[in-house]
């Protein structure tokens, strides 16, 4: 993983995190928006401008890859590099969570 990827994606935005998390299964932008809304009980509703921009940026940086087009919707899937970045983020978030737990004891 080169320095640019680390600088841009570690830590990453909530939008970026949910995109990578959802794209472990192939999906399109709107599909991700719907899944995230369901996963968070409607608390996080990603917007189309943000989604479109993030997907094209992540595709360019090689974190996700285009799979196929279906009804004018581009389907993507996470790449090896994307999985590495996601693993780093998960580790960071777990550490944060542990700190929160400890602080509340």
């Amino acid at each position: 993983m080169d320095a640019h990827i680390k600088k841009v994606y570690v830590p990453m935005t909530e939008t970026g995190f949910y995109i990578l998390l959802c794209l472990r299964m192939p999906n399109h932008g709107y599909g991700i928006i719907q899944r995230v809304e369901a996963m968070t009980d409607g608390e996080i509703r990603l917007a189309p401008g943000t989604m479109y921009g993030s997907l094209s940026k992540m595709e360019k940086d090689g974190l996700i890859a285009f799979v196929q087009e279906q009804d004018k919707r581009k389907i993507y899937q996470i790449t090896k590099l994307g999985e590495e970045v996601l693993a780093l983020e998960m580790k960071r978030i777990k550490r944060l969570y542990r700190s929160v737990e400890e602080a509340q004891q």
């Binding site: 935005t13 939008t15 917007a47 401008g49 943000t50």
Partner: protein, 185 residues
Amino acid sequence: MSEYKKEFRYFTIFDYEKEQEYLSWMHERGWKFTMVYFPGIYCFEPCKPEKVMYQLDYNQEGLAHKAEYLQMFADCGWEYLLEFMGYSYFRKPAAEMKEDEGIFCDDDSRLDMMKRVFRGRMVPLLCIFLAVLLPQLSIQLTDRAWTQGAFRSSIFWLYLVLVIVYMIFFIRFAIHYWHFNNRRR
């Protein structure tokens, strides 16, 4: 009452927030935006006064893949209106939103859009400024010594005015960027 209304409004490329507010404001007063053309003539038709959110996106890549770009917005309930000066115009009635909603949901993506505007619009201007205007102005100044009346030459004044207009543009962009970054914190 006339069937439609035309208004002239001048918004610079950084004033998209003001432009959005203006279009929403008109809609709430019963004027639905139909089209805009150069240099800033906004056309409206009468409609039921309603709270409608207008949003502008600047995304060259989206315009290059228009079908799938617009599909994403349509899926999220945003009606696409038109494209003008590189901007795509969208609207969505507030009644269809659970809470205040925009086409961007975080500041990172708002900043990304500002950067796209900068790359798409400001970089070409900066190139003209640095490669043409500034050299020309200095040639004018050195070729014709002050005593030979550089100030009487109309071409000198033309370049000077252009340089000032460009400077105002750059300064406005810098202020806009600075405000945005401050608001983020």
